[in-house]
């Protein structure tokens, strides 16, 4: 998990290799063409969703606009319940990940004890063996616990995140030891030191990890598909799949509307806080 160092604030120096004139025009054209290609699927979905079905594949600028596809999609499946389930799911996962991750990262970063390195290696194993690979055995475990078809069943395999522990450990290691010692001299217990010194200083890491975790679990599909089979526990992704593979099979305009609806919260959040999103994913990758 090595990667680049932190981005440095570059002073206003001129880069001798910055393209100018024709080179800049060519580069901009290439970049914009590729960008258009990249947004094409999304733009197409927006087109299909906001126009009547007969314009789904006919691109005329005078086509009338409508929100009918959205209302039909909303009425055709219990999307309100799916939204609620996904909201509960991502909140539950993130809350547990943060608590478990903080405790473990603190031990790994600042406690010197027997077995620490072995524990760290065992935790890092999850970076390679992702929960998706273990669906068969994890399903058996949850069946034994009698939790199949519940929201906690979707959450459980993910609440201890090696990635989160690693990220927090790296952050905690950058906290000056003197702050830790000073707090202890004042008589703070180890847990107080953690809450009063480490956690506040790691706030940017928490925000970054939170965004990555929420996007990941909002979009997760395979495991939730396996462990849920009722409206009460299904998250949005599985609900969308059930909806679009059933009787709606042909009405593309309605499917596109439903597709946009399920992606909307993350997409709108991304458009509003673009910089934070990009920097969070950057920070999460630079370990």
């Amino acid at each position: 998990m090595s990667a680049a160092p932190q981005p440095v604030v570059t002073a206003a120096r001129s880069d001798p290799y910055a393209p100018k004139g024709l080179a800049l025009t060519l580069e901009s054209t290439g970049a914009i063409l590729l960008a258009l290609l990249w947004v094409l699927p999304l733009a197409y979905a927006v087109w299909a969703a906001i126009h009547p079905a007969e314009y789904t594949t006919r691109f005329v600028l005078t086509a009338p606009l409508t929100l009918d596809n959205f209302t039909r999609a909303w009425a055709a499946a219990p999307f309100a319940r799916y939204f609620l389930n996904t909201f509960i799911l991502v909140t539950m996962i993130l809350a547990f990940q943060l608590v478990l991750g903080t405790l473990a990262a603190y031990a790994l970063a600042r406690q010197d004890f027997w077995g620490r390195d072995i524990a760290f290696a065992l935790i890092l194993a999850q970076l390679m063996i992702m929960p998706d690979a273990l669906i068969v055995e994890n399903y058996r475990t949850l069946a034994r616990l009698d939790l199949i078809d519940t929201i906690p069943a979707i959450a459980l395999p993910y609440i201890a995140s090696a990635f989160g522990i690693f990220l927090l450990r790296q952050t905690f290691k950058t906290v000056p030891k003197e702050l830790d010692d000073a707090a202890r001299v004042e008589g703070a217990s180890p847990l107080q030191v953690l809450m009063k010194v480490y956690v506040p200083l790691a706030k940017p890491t928490y925000v970054a990890y939170g965004l990555v975790s929420v996007s990941y679990h909002w979009n997760n599909f395979l495991w939730p598909l396996l462990v849920t089979n009722s409206v009460e526990s299904r998250p949005l992704t599985v609900g969308l799949q059930v909806f679009s593979s059933s009787d709606q099979g042909i009405d593309w305009a309605v499917i596109c509307a439903a597709t946009l609806m399920t992606s909307a919260p993350l997409l709108i959040g991304f458009l509003l806080f673009q910089r934070q999103f990009v920097q969070s994913f950057m920070r999460a990758g630079i370990k």
């Binding site: 699927p41 194993a125 390679m128």
Partner: protein, 292 residues
């Protein structure tokens, strides 16, 4: 109790909740998969019994398993180099002061935050025969109508394109961060020496981006085994297993045919492949890069 023992108790108490969850949902299932791969699948009147290597013999003789392996190999070869090259190109472009930089960067990154299962619906429509956008574009140039997802020759390629589109912008972010961290004095020095821009990129920037390339490479390899969501929407493994990847096959065997012992055997193959990736990363590649 001496202080060393106290520290050990404290340390393990802090680790306990996370370690317990990891043991239950990562370590134990990995070991259980291995154990179960030596047993038969329990049926209503016949409990599981030890069968030795029978499941592995079945595996070696299973044409669908080999098909899934070769599909996964082609999927990996198709997605990994292309998405990394595109990510690097995107990052170099977005790092320069091009026109509409913010918008371009946003366009590249957007697929990362969209649910794969949702965008797969859009791509399904894109590839649909007769109505689909691709058909219309091909038709415009007088090309022949193709059933992209229904033909054995093109279905896997179509799946691969969607995967590249989804992950290239994600990898771009890491290259962008690394490019911004390069000291500007390098460019100045190279310019004084009279190096062309291509030489500067090939001899200075690209070698310095090596740690990022390795990081992205490992992620791309893992993704090649993990990305199966779009297959559920677009092809369900068809036509005739042309798009069955290893993880999708595990899902089919385990949850459609309910042959859990054989699914556990397939899981062991996937775990062995992932372990190999880990070995290459930690044993060979990372020995040469700085690790703190």
């Amino acid at each position: 109790m001496n202080s060393r023992a106290t520290a050990t108790v404290h340390g393990w108490l802090l680790l306990l909740p996370a370690m317990a969850c990891l043991a239950l949902f990562t370590h134990w299932p990995a070991v259980a998969s291995l154990i179960e791969s030596f047993y038969s699948t329990a049926k209503a009147r016949r409990p599981a019994r030890f069968v030795g290597l029978d499941n592995y013999e079945q595996l070696l003789a299973d044409p669908i398993f080999w098909k899934a392996m070769s599909n996964n190999l082609w999927f990996a070869l198709g997605t990994i180099p292309t998405s990394i090259a595109l990510a690097l190109l995107m990052a170099v472009w977005v790092n320069d002061k091009i026109v509409g930089r913010t918008w371009v960067r946003m366009a590249f990154f957007t697929p990362t935050i969209l649910p794969m299962i949702a965008v797969a619906n859009i791509w399904l429509f894109f590839f649909t025969p007769q109505y689909g956008l691709l058909e219309q574009i091909v038709g415009l140039f007088g090309g022949r109508s193709t059933n992209w997802l229904g033909s054995q020759d093109t279905a896997l390629a179509a799946i691969t394109v969607v995967a590249i589109w989804k992950e290239a912008g994600f990898f771009m972010i890491f290259y962008l961060a690394a490019l911004q961290a390069l000291p500007p004095s390098l460019g100045e020095a190279a310019a004084i020496e009279g190096a062309s821009r291509w030489t500067y990129f090939r001899r200075i920037q690209f070698p310095l981006l090596m740690p990022t390339t390795l990081f992205v490479l490992i992620n791309a390899v893992i993704n090649a085994f993990r990305m199966v969501d779009h297959i559920f929407v677009m092809t369900r493994g068809g036509p005739d297993n042309a798009t069955t990847l290893l993880l999708f096959y595990i899902y089919q065997v385990g949850f459609s045919f309910w042959d859990t012992a054989y699914a556990a055997t397939l899981t062991c193959v996937l775990l062995a492949l992932l372990a190999l990736v880990a070995f290459v990363q930690y044993g060979i590649l990372e020995r040469r890069t700085h690790y703190r």
